[in-house]
């Protein structure tokens, strides 16, 4: 039987079939952060003798509010830290940490063919490596720490073929928004999105992570990209990966993880990206996105228009902004910062602008090439790494009615603060908007393609 990439990974991890199309699925790696891990860890401590199936398969990262903002978040971080130390779990803490979905690949903890689970919906980011990586609740994460397995209903598989070449300022973020706008905000529910096609093959690992990061925003279980030379060279020589022959033996296995030519899918869609241009969201879910410069559709959802304070038929470029944010697990890797810096070099922002690198390793790499000077010369706030303003939990919270252009992944009501309004876009569009104080394309500043000159150098910690 020919198999898709997803099927190859899934079949290799099914421990046993369970009633109702469920399966007990082995989890190679559990990623644990301070917001959603303590509840399961404490339950295991109380009810199951504090025993973990294999602490060596867990990676713990303080990331959401790090350093802590108050006593409660300090307790969360301390619980994670103490638990990790007690079980000799690899821990990334203040100073060496970053957003878990950025740190995990950077440190070589994800590889093709793996299964990964984390109490965080954007774990799908790691599907960029040809892994099956998904977000789960705290109880399911706890179960994966206790018994190294998840109970999962087998998802359906949608093949998403992306032809053409990203150009004219279009980035992986715009592709991600395009996919969600095409499928609809819940159009991927029940599916794994298995990407294929020439446009995907041409993406760097940073870009594949941006694309897979937003699979959940179409409701999908996760996204997956076929592993190839780009994947292998990202992992070659990386921390927590073997070297020499041992690594090459792994590569030989990873090469077998491509979908078989006549594999069948539950659904298939084909997109062409040659004509894709920068996108921006106008509404309150990531599927409510349009090309920058297009009009808000006439049939736009009334409640979304009302919350966002916009009108059908209007042009988003007329809106004045209160804040700009470049960061999050979607767009905070080195290539994202380079693209934003390309736009900001020699210019000045006119609204409060926060730039938050995805990890401390990204921060240091960016500083080695002077990006922090470009940002700060432009008047941006250059911060340490964390989730930061993305989830409206610590710094950068919006005032009610406040409008922010953001390189993040969610524009839900209240996401960055109660009543706050979020427009999602690529780092280059956020940077251009920060300069002009309204939603703007980099081309308005004469920067046609900020990513064209950016090379994806993959950060090593």
């Amino acid at each position: 039987m020919p198999q898709s990439l997803f099927e190859k990974v899934w079949n290799a991890h099914v421990v046993e079939a369970l009633p109702g199309d469920n399966a007990l699925v082995f989890v190679d790696r559990v990623v644990a952060h301070e917001i959603t891990t303590p509840q399961g860890a404490l339950e295991i401590e109380r009810e199951y003798g504090d025993t973990l199936y294999d602490p060596g398969r867990i990676v713990a990262i303080n990331d959401h509010v790090s350093p802590a903002k108050d006593m409660e978040t300090a307790i969360q971080a301390k619980v994670l830290r103490d638990w990790a130390k007690r079980h000799k779990i690899a821990l990334f803490d203040i100073g060496q940490n970053g957003i878990c979905h950025v740190v995990t690949p950077e440190r070589g903890y994800v590889e093709p063919g793996m299964t990964l689970a984390c109490g965080d919906s954007h774990t799908c980011t790691l599907g960029a490596f040809g892994a099956f990586a998904l977000g789960v609740g705290s109880t399911a994460q706890g179960g994966a720490m206790l018994a190294q397995t998840l109970v999962l209903q087998r998802p359906k598989v949608m093949r998403v073929i992306v032809n053409g070449r990203l150009q004219g300022g279009a980035t992986a973020k715009d592709l991600a928004l395009h996919v969600i706008a095409t499928l609809g905000f819940k159009g991927g529910t029940g599916y794994v999105l298995e990407y294929a096609g020439s446009a995907i093959d041409a993406l760097s690992m940073d870009e594949r992570m941006t694309l897979c990061n937003m699979a959940i925003e179409a409701g999908a279980t996760t996204g997956m990209c076929p592993p190839d030379e780009t994947t292998f060279s990202y992992l070659r020589g990386r921390e927590n990966q073997p070297t020499g022959e041992d690594f090459e033996a792994k590569v030989a296995f990873w090469r077998t993880l491509r979908a078989d030519p006549d594999a069948t899918y539950d659904r298939e869609i084909t997109l062409d990206v040659d004509a894709l241009r920068p996108m921006v969201t106008w509404g309150t879910n990531p599927g409510e996105a349009i090309a920058l410069g297009a009009q808000i559709p006439a049939d736009a959802e009334a409640s979304s228009l009302k919350y966002m304070g916009v009108e059908a038929g209007s042009d988003l470029r007329e809106l004045e902004l209160d804040q700009a944010f470049i960061g999050s697990c979607t767009n905070s890797r080195l290539s994202d910062l380079r693209a934003a810096a390309e736009v900001l070099r020699g210019r000045t922002v006119t609204i409060p602008t926060i730039v938050t690198p995805g990890s401390q390793a990204v921060k240091r790499a960016a500083e080695r090439e002077g990006l922090h000077d470009i940002f700060q010369d432009a008047g941006c706030l250059w911060t340490h790494s964390s989730c930061g303003p993305c989830l409206g939990m610590s710094m950068g919270v919006l005032a009610p009615g406040g409008r922010c252009i953001s390189s993040t992944n969610r524009n839900f009501p209240g996401r960055m603060g109660t009543g706050g309004r979020v427009h999602l876009a690529s780092p280059a569009v956020v940077a251009a908007s920060a300069v002009l104080g309204r939603i703007a394309s980099p081309s308005e500043l004469g920067v046609v393609d900020a990513t064209a000159t950016v090379t994806a150098t993959e950060v090593r910690a």
Partner: protein, 179 residues
């Protein structure tokens, strides 16, 4: 098992977990005591909850519980006494979290929702898999046969704990699944 109670009608689609419980309320380390934050991220949420303070059954439109994986959404509903959510569709992670916390996620045909939103009271028979509406009608649904046991007898974690030996045996028979 029968879940009977008054209905809180939430006539909205795509109710995301930021609306159910905003991120700034996620600063605890336990699953308990989160009911006071329920729907505080939703415009009009607090008023709606106050009008239906005794409700045990939530009725909503499609794609309920989308967004973040935060199980706090399920914990805050459970803490306020909700034992079932009825909707035409759920986001996957919320759907799983609901089962793991004694909340029945009940999927019904979208055409049934208008009448259920009008209901004051509903009675859900988990064994027979039907909802008895207060107008006398019955609405069928299907539960996940495995997760139904988590609802009836509790314990996703307990179930997994019972599988540890099976998993170890599988792992050693297979060698590293990563080859």
């Amino acid at each position: 098992m029968i879940i009977a109670g008054t209905v809180l009608p939430l006539d909205r689609a795509n109710v995301d977990t930021d609306q159910i419980i905003p991120a700034h309320n996620l600063t605890g380390i336990e699953k308990t005591g989160l009911g006071k934050h329920l729907f505080t991220g939703m415009t009009g949420g607090a008023e709606l909850l106050a009008r239906h303070s005794e409700a045990a059954i939530l009725v909503a439109r499609e794609n309920f519980g989308c967004g973040s994986s935060r199980e706090h959404a399920a914990w805050s509903l459970a803490d306020r006494g909700f034992r079932a959510v009825i909707a035409p569709s759920f986001a996957r992670i919320f759907y799983e979290n609901a089962y793991n916390n004694g909340i029945a996620p009940i999927v019904v045909d979208a055409t049934e929702i208008d009448a259920l939103l009008e209901s004051i009271f509903a009675s859900i028979d988990l064994e027979r898999e039907v909802i008895a509406r207060d107008d006398g009608g019955e609405v069928p649904f299907t539960l996940d046969p495995l997760r139904k046991q988590f609802l009836l007898s509790g314990g996703y974690m307990k179930f997994l704990a019972s599988k540890i030996e099976t998993v170890r045996a599988w792992e050693s028979a297979k060698g590293s699944p990563r080859a």
